[in-house]
Every structure is written in structure tokens, then in C-alpha cells.
Symmetry: C5
Subunit: 350 residues, 5 copies
């Protein structure tokens, strides 16, 4: 999300890739969706797109890899996607945004995916260009996240062909946001389990785990909160490229992203409560330690003084020569100890 | 409220039940409300609904159980409720929402009910489809919450027949929100009692109770706050399916849900204050313990030193051979002790 | 403010009193205000109102007591006040609200009054129904709060007759809100005095007083904040029942209630600061106690060790037989004590 | 700002002074501003104003002293300022407000002035009545704050004559708000200096200073925040009494008051940070004290025990009779002390 | 940002420099941009500007140095920039603002630049006056920040000539805001590194670093937050001086400044978390110290008492004469010590 020194002052029309890794080839896959059938193919050059222009079918072109500046330039020429839109596509650190242009609508959002080992969330920027009967999507790396939508296209090609590129875009955004909620749910489960463990035994590592979860949640929020802002903007825009029949779906997106933000806020509150419980238990522990020290000290300090008194070497200490002096001293000390214990019991110190 | 992996990417038109338990049969009850009389019946198939379509009477169809996908499909055909609405009905984790469609209005809200033993609040999703002279309500499990409304229909059928399906929907939503306030009131009573107890004797279990109440309140908030958002949206929408004569009732709903949210905020503040009182009393306790330890230590440490001095075995310690040496030492020690006590008294340490 | 189980699901048209106490009779007083003279009378039945209907004079009917369901029913018939309005009048726990109806405007607000002994604030619900040349006010218990307005009516009957029922309603609401500020002022004085006392001597009872004042302030806020929301709604509504000439007065009400809310926020901040000062002074006290303990311990612990060394009974301890051994030890111990004291002085421990 | 018991229920048209002190005479000064020249005079009765009514020149009448109820009544008659406006003028505790009336605009704001000794800020209520070619300003006490504006009038009378009473009112309000920023700047300097001092040596008096500065800042906020609300209302109102050519000046006022509020928020944050630094340094101090106590105790406690062992008087303690017993014990004790010191060093306790 | 006493009450039309340093000469550089070529020159007097007035080319005049009051006066005459705009230009402490005037648009924003040694951020006020085919920019000191834009003008003069002065203004503002993000990124890196270091070893200097970073971040916020407000106002204004073709660029500015504010909030949260971690680790340290002290004290206090008992000098202490008395006492003391250790182990104190 940060800015590199050399990218400051770049022209908004410059087709320069501003991401970190550019390993691997560009991969372009094409869905041609008609009422009755779906054609899937892989293309290698922009020229292969020419026959699909102005076709009556619905076309979905997905491009994995953003670093080919020549290819992007050809897209400007062939598909009339404005250069400043493609410049934003090539900036993976861009904030979720939506922008209408003459012949289409541009939307960008962060896609999150839980990795295999379920330990780390990978984040990729998804760009969607919605045009008449054409949807172009861009991502840096190939992802399996959209497989359910591919399945639905194969089964219900008629619905997609009828509802158009904006419905297809909704379907993809819906998957992205459902994944937000899914990932939040996983994190939330860890947070809720931690609370149960803490009541049992709040060890020191608990604090580290809480801080780690807080950092993770905070990072998710950095992507989800601006995405909500973008979705709300999309619904409010009443763009010509979202057909009235699909508006309700975009409103449902808004409900879903609101739910995600509410989960964020709820889990954050849980974590703050857990931090408080941890600190309470730590200060209770300190209090207990001090109470124990005080009980011991307060009982034995006077006793130790007394035995010190009769350890003095004065020539003239009458008590030392009493027959039962030693036993009387023991008795006095026992009385003192019992009195102290009774006092502490009364004040509920143990 | 969480998302299952297999439900990501589901079509918004798919009639699939996404809840947890699907025990028991579907139960459909029907109220036919006319100016002078009310017919109540139980129906077993959607076909039985056909004679009621386009009838002049007001019909309330209540369906308990959401898992019968075939039945839902028949409702699409028979009552013209859109598939995407019924798909939302079959997702019990949905956020409170309202949506207008061609021939009706869809509203969903969380219904809360205090269980018998009054220990746990059960939550169910209530969906309402308001159409012309027809109200369809859906819940996962049968509830007695609406019995007072059933009673009112039987007594004042004319009012319901005149004011229509939107008035009936209001009556049900009003019960739901009154229950929010009732449940909050019960929780609030516990919170207020705790405060009184705490002033007497803030034990350690207090902290656990505060944390439990905080969690409960926070959970209620997760349902009540989005419900408020939905009700406000409903009032603002000025839907054609809410007659002008009923608008004031929906505004009263908004007042009530606002009252619920204000109670939430008030009780939350109470709980935070209680937490503060608890921590203050804990740190006062620590301070008291330390004061006691210090008083004892500071008095006896010099005395113990003195008796140690005269316990030394040097050949030449003149004081040891004074006649009243032992008694003089006692006198000195008494003076020291009294001086210390006077100092602590002055600083109000006890 | 809470909901009783039996009131859930009540019809919004039901004339049922939902308050707690219904002691005493209903009392109805009537002001008939004309340009030149004012008639004051007490009436006993609704029928006595008939001659005043559609009169050219301005009528103010005040009703103390809300529990007479038969009387309320007659008001619906005689004065055409809608049943759902009167149902709200009979719910003393209602949230401050305003509602326009066909032939009038309904406003409800909480009235606060400092009791004689100035120890407790009593709260009553005030309902106002503003109609053409007629104002009806309802309260549960008789109050002297409005005596200054009664006085003004008697003196300036012409102004009231000219400006109408909405001006009279303003005058009453103005008194209610002035009282909010007056009561807040009294509470604020206690809060500010507490701050001055605290700087002198923050005793333990201080914490209890702060918590009590916080609770009181919080309770006032529960009535004042929603009242502000209502007043703002009233000003925004541009109701037909508020004449343009009186709009400025209602805007002044808004200024006044804003002032009340600002006082609330200011005093709340003061109380939070006082809590902080209390806790700071407590932790300074703990720190001081520990410093004293440490100074004493750190000085005497080595000394006590030294005298212990020469209290040992080894056969062969050369120092014991030195002529000035005892005095040398005293010298060493004095040096140690002075060194320690110098160190503590340097670190500013006392 | 508080409400006196006897002022509750006062008529909004009553010309009664509600301030605290009414010492001194009323003083009325008059500027008659024409394109080429400015006449300054002092007048003693309202009648002297008559020749200026409907004059072509711009008139600024400034009145110091608000307690002359007879004079105010004459202003109603002579200048057609409505009685309810003048009633607000006579309430120095009023909230900053703006109100349009038939033939003018009423604005009131708090004027703050740093006193000579720069120790206290005095607050006065400034009321402005903007009419056609006439500005009337009211303050309780004479102030030199507006001298720069008087100077500008004398130099640039043509600009004032051209831009009118609204420009003159802007010039005065601008001075008032510039003074807010100036006073905040002085307070802020103290706050920033305190931070630098604290890093050196956070003494106990620091806490008192922080609390005093917090109170002062909070008091400024009580006047500045509502003033901002008023200025924003003024800009939004698009009043007929503010000429289009002067609108940009009022927008600049809004910028300035926003800057004042931002300064308020910034200094408040600084003070909170300083409080945190103070508390951190106090708890570090406690921690250091405890570490020192613990180091001494933990080293000497075992040693004191050992010398106690060989101070026992048992008949049969073999070690006592060893030739080098005393020296061996010293060796053991040295080893223990060194071991402890090494352990504390390792844990970085000193 | 503060106000000087002598600047209070200054006329908004007064051309007086209100900054701090006025070292160095004024420097005026001129870009004349045409479709095919760009002329760059340095001018020394305003008269040299006359030939460029109403030229068909796009002119960018940059002025470094704001203190020449005579020059500013000539700009009013030659370029028809209103005096009150130039008065704001000469106040470097002005809040970021935008203002439309008859023949142009005025924008001011804070420009931040990381200095060579990368230790301090220098802040300068940038003023832009956008007119027809003319952009005038003002800064106090020369900066290299805009070099990339100068480069782009030289390469793509046609684009700048076509899109006009508003596009050029956007390009400069874009650089300013990109720099905000770049600087925030550098600060953020320090903050994130600190977190990693802290988990290892939270030393005392950590607290000082956190407080320094907090202050730095807070200072950046004072410039960035009002800049966001200004940019949002600019986008909302739909000024005539921003061509429709350039609106999308200004919307992108808004996205960028929002990103900057989100970074501010994110890093602030990080710093607060770090403060919490620091305090937790400090209180854990205190707790550990007290636990150690308590373990030692509680074990040795009873033992020291016991050896004291047998150090007493009573004539009659039977145990002293037992054969194995000394060894039995050692046994008892060992048992006590082991018991204590077992107890502490059980409570997990070490
Ligand atoms: Mg850019
Ligand atoms: Mg863009
Ligand atoms: Mg971008
Ligand atoms: Mg979905
Ligand atoms: Mg955001
Ligand atoms: Mg939020
Ligand atoms: Mg929040
Ligand atoms: Mg839906
Ligand atoms: Mg849904
Ligand atoms: Mg109700
Ligand atoms: Mg919410
Ligand atoms: Mg709220
Ligand atoms: Mg709140
Ligand atoms: Mg009502
Ligand atoms: Mg109600
Ligand atoms: Mg008043
Ligand atoms: Mg509220
Ligand atoms: Mg407020
Ligand atoms: Mg708050
Ligand atoms: Mg606030
Ligand atoms: Mg007024
Ligand atoms: Mg007033
Ligand atoms: Mg305010
Ligand atoms: Mg504010
Ligand atoms: Mg701010
Ligand atoms: Mg100014
Ligand atoms: Mg300006
Ligand atoms: Mg300015
Ligand atoms: Mg701001
Ligand atoms: Mg923000
Ligand atoms: Mg925030």
C-alpha cells in the first residue's frame, strides 16, 4: 500500500506496473456465454479478441498477471478501455475504488484467500471492467476462488446471458465478500476460543496471542473498511452499466459487506475485553502475592523482634532467669500469631 | 452469522437452506380475516392456497420450518414471491434487511425469546413478505411470541381487515421489538443489582459476572443495532406497500428500537462503571495491604536492629554492664515505636 | 422505561394505563384565554368541555392523572384526539416524541423537578396535544412548575390569545427545558466543588461520591438526549400547527436543549477528570508508601546483618576481642546509613 | 451559563437583564461612515439616533452595558429591533446563536480577552444586530479588542461604506475568532513547554499543572465549539443581510473557527499524552523502588539467616568450634551475594 | 499556525506577509506550454508577464518567495487575481482551503518534504491559482518536489496543453499527496520495526521513542486531515474551472488523500498497541520482582525466626541441651523450606 519514491509524480495515463513481483507469464482465459452453450478458451494475444467485439454473446475475459505493459497498451486500442483505468489496474496497491467511464464501469477491490496450511491470508487486487456484454477481470496471480462461479456459468448460462456483464461482476464481487466473512469467521473462532481458555488459566503467552490476533484483525480491517466505502459508492452511483434488474443484487452486496464490518467491530471488542481480563488477572496475581508477603511479614516481624530482645547480652535481664520465661515467651508469641491470623481472616485476605 | 465454505459463491436465486438444524416437519397455519369473522386452519400443501389468491379477505400464512426446498419452489410459482427473496428466507444468518419487489415488500429481523428457565435467550430469524391482502411469515421454529397478536385478530378482525397486511406486519414487528426491550430490561436489572452488591463487597467472582453480562449485552447489540438500521430504512423508504394510514405505526417502531439502542448504551456504560469500581476497589485493597506491611516493617526494623546490636558478642560493650541498660533500651524502643505511630497517624495511613 | 411482560403486543389503539401508581383522582383545570380576560375553572366531566369546542377563545385544558380509561375514551369522542395518541399519553415510559395528526400535533417530553429537600429529582411524563385554539396537557401528578406561565397568561392574555396554542405549548416546553438546565447547574456545582475539595484531600469517600454523581448525570442524560432529538425533529417538521410567527421560539428551544446537552458533556468530562485525579493520588500514595518501606529496609537490612555477624558464637572471631571493635562496628554502620541516605536524597525519594 | 431559579419561565419578550454585575453607566458610541469621511461621537439618549435613521451613510452604534431596561425598550421603538432579540441580548449566558428577523440579522458570540497580567481570560458576550446600513453591537463591558477595526474604518472608510454593515460585522467577528486562536496559541505554548520539561524531570507538581491546563482548555472549548456551530449556521443560512460580495469573508471565518477547533483537539491530545507520560514515569519509579528493595532483601535475607544460625546457643554445634569456621561462613556468604548479583545483572535489574 | 498579536484585526485585503523568515530573493519561473514545444524562462518583473496574457498557450508561473508586497500588488493589477486571495497566499499559516473567484479558482495546501538526512520533515504552504490557460503557484522556498512534473511537461506538452491549467494543478497536487503517503510510509516502517524489537526486549528508551513517533504522526495529521477536507470540498464544488475531462483525476486525488488518512489512523492504532505492550511488559516485570521478593521472604522469615528463638539467652531452654537439637532444627527448617517451594511451584510462581 506504500508509495515508492520513483512512483511519485507518475502520469495517471502511464501504463507502468507498480507491484512487487512479476514472475510468470500472463494468462488470458475467455468465457463466451450464450443462452444455450458456453465456450471456454485460452488466448495468447489481444488480436484473438477482435472477433468477439460487438458479438451478441456475453464475454468474460480474465487476465492473470499485470506486468505486460505492451499487452495493456493493446487493450486500450482493441477494447477502448481508457489508459488511466488500465494504469490503476497496474497499481496493485490501489485503494478499492469505482469509476464510470464513457463506455463502462471500473471497479477494484482486494481479494483475500486463506492459504492451504490455513496460516496466512494472501491478498490480491481484483480489477473489474464492466462494459456492454463484456467483462474483463485482472488479478496478479491465478486463484481458484471463482471456480463456483465458473460452475454456475456452465449450468445456468441462460441466466448469465440474460442478466449480462453486471450480473457476472456481481457474482464475482459476492464471492470476494463472502470470503471476507469466511476468513473473519475463522479468526473470530480463534478469538472466542482464547476467551474460554483465559478463564481457566491466563498464562503469559496469552498476551502475545492477543496482540497477534489484534494485528491480524486490524490488517483485515484495512481492506474491508475501504471496500465497504466503495460498495456503498457503487450502489449510490446508480450507474447506467448496472441494469435495474441487478440493482437488488448490489444492495445485497452492501448488506454483506456491512455484516463483515460488524464482525470486525465485534471481534475487536472481544479482543479488548480479553486484554482487560488478562490485565485484571495479572493485577489480581500481584495483589495475591503482596497479601501473602504481608501476612508472613506481619506475623513474624514482631515475633522475630521478641526473640531478638531475649538474645541481648545485658547483664541484667530479669526475665531470662525466670523458670518458665522461655515458655511464657512462646505463649505470648502464639497469642500474637493467632491474633494476627484472626485479623487477616476478618479482612478476608485468605 | 458465519459463512460456511460450501455456501461461498451460491447463486442468489438458489433455494438452499443454509441453517444448522432441520429437525421436524414444516407447519403452515392460515388466518383468513374478514370484517366480521376469522377462519383459522392448518394447511399441508401449497395447492390449498390457490382458493385464497386474489380473495377479498386478508390472509396471514405463517410457515414454521425453512428447510423444504420443494415447498419453497412451489411458493415461487403459486404466490409469485421472487426466488431471490425466498433464497434470503432460507439463510437464517442473514442480516436484518428490507427489500421491495414488484408486488410486495420483504422484511427480515431477528426474533429473541427468553427461555423457560429464563437463563438463555434463543434467537430465530423472522421473515415477512407483505403483499396485497396477504402476509406470509417464516420462522425456523414455532414460537408463542405472537399469541397476543392472534388474540387481537380474533377480537378486532375488522381493524386488521381495514388496515391490511402492512398493519398486521407492524403488529408482529412491534411484538419483536417490545421483546428486545423486555429482555434488555431483565439484563439491565441484573446489571443494576450487581452495582448495589459491589458497593457492599466486591468479591472476585464479581469480575466474572461483569464479563459475562458484558458478553451477553454485546450479543444483544449485534442483533438490535442492525435491526434499527433496517427499521429506519423501512420508514425512509415510503414503500407503496405501507399505506399512509399505517406510517405512524412504523414511526413508532422506530421510536421503540431507538429506545432499545439507548438502553443498550446505558447498560454498557453501567457495566464499564462497574468494571472501574471493581478495579478501584482492588487497587485500594493492594494499597491497604502495602500500608499495613510498611507500618509493621518500619516500626520493627529499627527495633530489631537495636536488639541485634546488644546481642553482639564483643568483649567490650559498655552498655551491657549498666545496671538499667536493658530497661533503657526498652524505653528507647518504645519512644521510637510511638514516634513512628504518630507519624503514620499524621499521614492518615490508618 | 422498561417493558412489562403483559404489555407486549398491546394494540396501539388500546387505552390502557401502563404506569406504576394510580393513586388519587383525575383533576382537570381549564384556562379560557381571551384578548382582555382569562377565566380559570375546574371541570369534572368531559361534557363540560362541549361549549368550548370551536370557541373563538384560546383554551388550555390541563389533566393531572392518566389512569381513567373511560375519561380518555370520552376525549376521543369529544375532542377528536385519535385513540393511538391517547394510548401513548397513557404510557408514561414513552420516549420523548412528536407526531402530527389530522387536526393537531402531539408532543411528549420528560418533566424533571427538584424536590423540596433538594435531594432527589422526580420525573414525570408531560404530553401536549396542540390543536386549533386548544391545548390539552397531561401529567401523572400535579406540579407547580408551570405557575410562572399561569402568571404570564393572567398578565399578558392578549399575547397568548394572539399567538395561539402553539405559543402556549412553547411556553410550557421552555419551562421544562429551563428546568433541565437549572437541575444540571445544581449537579454541576456539586461536581465543581468536589474538584476543589479533592485537590486538598482525596479521601476514600470521594470515590463513592464521584460514582454517585456519575450515575445521577447519566440518568439525566437518558431524558435530556432523546428530548433534544425530539425538539430538533419538531423544528425540522415545519408543522402546520406551529405558526410562522412562533417558529423562532421553537428554534430557541433547540438552542436551550443543546446547551443542556453541552452541560451534560462538560460535567461528564469533569467527573472523568476527577476520577483520574483520584486514581493518580491513590497511586502516588502507594508509591510513597513503598518508597518509605524501601528506605527503611535498605538502610537497616545491611546493619542488621552486620550485628548478626557479631552475634555469632564461633570460638574464633578475632574482631570480638579488639578493644574498640564495638565502636568500629558502630562507625561502619553509621557510614553505611549515611551513604544510603545520600543516595536516596540524590534520587529525590524524599 | 447556568439558570437562576427566578429566570425560569420568563417571557421571551421580557426586557430583563439576566447577568451578574450591573456596575457603571451605559456608554453609547457612534461611527457615521461615509465614502470620504468618518464621524465619531458619543450619544446619551436614544432620541439622538433619530436623525441617523434611513441615512445614506453606514452607522455603527456600539453599546457598552446591558442593564438599562428602559433604554432597551426605546431601541425597540426607535430602531425596530424586535423585543425578543433584545431580550436575548440582555441574557449574557446565552449560547452563541444567529437569527434572522424581518429587517435584520442577529448574531451573538463569546468574546475572549487575555487580561493585562496574562493570567486570566475574561469572557464577555458580544451581540451584533445587522440591519440595512446599520450595525448595533452590545457588550457588557468596554473592550479595546476592536481598536484595530476602528483604525481600519478611519483609514478605509470607503471600503466599509461600500461593503456595508455585514462587512463591518464580519470584521468584528474576525477579530473575535483571531483572538480565540491567539489565546489558544498562548495556552498551547505552555502545554508544549510542559512536555519538554517533563522529559527532564516529571515532578509531582506536573500533575497539578496538567490538570489546570486541561480545565482551562476545556473551558475555552465550551465557548469555541458552539461558536463554530453558529458560524457554520451563518454561512449555510445564505441570509439576505449578507451581500454576495461578503460571503467569501464569512467562509473565511468558518475556516478560522475550524482552525481554532483543530487547535483545541490537538492540544487536548498533547495533554492526554503528557498525562500518560507522567503516569508511565510514576509507575517506572515504583518499579525501580521495588527492584531496589528486592535486590537488597534477596541478597541479605539468606545471609541474615546464616548468621542467625550460628548465633544459636545449642550446646552441640560442631561448626562453632572449627578453627576457620567464622572465615568459611564469610566465604559462603560472599559466594551467595555474588551469585545473586550475577543473577540480577543477567535479568537487567540494574 | 499560531496568530501573532499584531496580525489580529488585519484587513482581509491587506497584502502583508505573515510568515517567519523572509531571507532570499523572489524567484519567478515561467513555463509556456504549446502543443509541440515548451519554453522555460526566468522572469524578474511582472511587466514581463504582459505578452502572455490572453495567449493561446498554457502558462505556468511559479513564484518562490512570498514577502514582496509590491510584487503582489502588481499581480493584482496585471493578472486580476483578487487582493484577498493574494492576502491568503501571504499567510503561510493558513488552513488548506479552496475558493472560487470571478475568473479563477484558488487552492492552498501544505507541502511536506523529507530532508536530505531524512531526519526532519519540512513543511511549506503551496498556493495555486487556476485561471483560464494560466496557473500561478506560490511557495515560500524553492523545492525539487515538482521536478517529475516538469519532466512530464517537457515530454507530453500536448497532453498538458489539451487538458489545461486544471490538469497541471492536479498533477502538482497529486505529487503533494503522493509525498504524504511516502512520508507516512517511512514513519510507518519505523513504527512497525519498533513493534518487532519490543517483543524481544522492551527497554526504557522504547517509551521515549513511542512518544516521539506519536508526536510526529500527530503533527502529520494536523496537515493531512484538513487537506482531505479541502480536497473533498474541491471535488464536491464542481467548479467551472475544473473541466469535466479532469474530474476523474480530482476524484483520484480524493482516493489518495483518503488512503493517507487511513494510514494515519492505522499507524496511530499501532502506536497505541505498542504503548499497551510496553505497559504490560513493565507491569509483568513489577509482578515478577514482587514474586521473587515474596518467595525469598516467605521462605526465610520463619527460618530466621526459628534461629532467633534458639539464640535467646533464657537460663532454661531445654532443647538447647539436647544432643541433636542443632541437627533437628536444621531438619525442621529444611522441611519448612521445601514445603514453601512446593506451594509456590503449585501456584506457578516460578
Ligand atoms: Mg498517482
Ligand atoms: Mg482512476
Ligand atoms: Mg491510483
Ligand atoms: Mg451470497
Ligand atoms: Mg475508511
Ligand atoms: Mg464502522
Ligand atoms: Mg465503533
Ligand atoms: Mg436479497
Ligand atoms: Mg443474504
Ligand atoms: Mg407498543
Ligand atoms: Mg451496526
Ligand atoms: Mg446510538
Ligand atoms: Mg455512545
Ligand atoms: Mg404514537
Ligand atoms: Mg410508544
Ligand atoms: Mg428562556
Ligand atoms: Mg440518544
Ligand atoms: Mg454533543
Ligand atoms: Mg463517546
Ligand atoms: Mg466529544
Ligand atoms: Mg431568540
Ligand atoms: Mg436564550
Ligand atoms: Mg457543541
Ligand atoms: Mg469537534
Ligand atoms: Mg482534528
Ligand atoms: Mg484574518
Ligand atoms: Mg480567503
Ligand atoms: Mg486566512
Ligand atoms: Mg478537520
Ligand atoms: Mg477518519
Ligand atoms: Mg477511528
Amino acid at each position: 500500500m506504500l508509495k515508492r519514491k520513483e512512483d511519485i509524480g507518475l502520469s495517471p495515463y502511464e501504463l507502468k506496473f507498480r507491484g512487487l513481483h512479476r514472475s510468470g507469464d500472463i494468462r488470458m482465459t475467455l468465457f463466451e456465454i450464450d443462452f444455450e452453450k458456453v465456450n471456454e478458451s485460452t488466448i495468447r494475444s489481444v488480436e484473438e479478441l477482435l472477433p468477439y467485439k460487438n458479438s451478441e454473446t456475453l464475454i468474460w475475459l480474465n487476465i492473470d498477471g499485470l506486468h505486460d505493459e505492451k499487452l495493456m497498451g493493446e487493450l486500450v486500442g482493441t477494447l477502448q478501455i481508457p489508459a488511466d483505468i488500465l494504469s490503476d489496474v497496474m497499481e496493485p496497491g490501489t485503494r478499492p475504488q469505482m469509476e464510470e467511464f464513457d463506455n463502462g464501469l471500473f471497479v477494484s477491490i482486494k481479494m483475500m484467500e486463506l492459504n492451504e496450511g490455513k496460516n496466512r491470508v494472501s491478498v490480491d487486487n481484483l480489477s473489474l471492467v464492466v462494459m456492454d456484454n463484456l467483462l474483463v477481470t485482472f488479478q496478479e496471480e491465478k486463484s481458484d476462488l471463482f471456480n463456483p462461479v465458473r460452475e454456475r456459468i456452465r449450468k445456468h448460462s441462460k441466466r448469465f446471458r440474460t442478466l449480462g456483464a453486471d450480473y457476472l461482476a456481481f457474482a464475482l464481487l459476492d464471492v470476494v465478500i463472502d470470503n471476507y466473512i469466511f476468513i473473519l469467521g475463522g479468526l473470530g473462532e480463534k478469538i472466542e476460543n482464547l476467551e474460554n481458555e483465559m478463564i481457566m488459566d491466563p498464562g503469559r503467552e496469552t498476551l502475545k496471542i492477543i496482540n497477534l490476533l489484534k494485528r491480524e484483525l486490524s490488517n483485515l480491517g484495512r481492506y474491508i473498511r475501504p471496500a465497504r466505502e466503495m460498495i456503498i459508492g457503487l450502489v449510490k452511483s446508480e450507474s447506467d452499466f448496472i441494469a435495474p434488474v441487478n440493482e437488488k443484487h448490489y444492495k445485497e452486496l452492501q448488506d454483506n459487506i456491512n455484516q463483515a464490518v460488524e464482525l470486525l467491530d465485534y471481534y475487536r471488542e472481544l479482543l479488548y475485553d480479553e486484554l482487560n481480563i488478562y490485565h485484571s488477572s495479572m493485577s489480581t496475581r500481584l495483589s495475591d502475592i503482596m497479601a501473602l508477603l504481608t501476612i508472613f511479614s506481619v506475623i513474624f516481624i514482631p515475633l522475630t523482634f521478641i526473640v531478638g530482645v531475649y538474645g541481648m547480652n545485658f547483664d541484667n535481664i530479669p526475665e531470662l532467669h525466670w523458670r518458665y520465661g522461655y515458655f511464657i515467651v512462646w505463649g505470648v508469641m502464639l497469642l500474637i500469631a493467632i491474633g494476627m491470623l484472626w485479623y487477616f481472616k476478618k479482612r478476608k485476605w485468605f
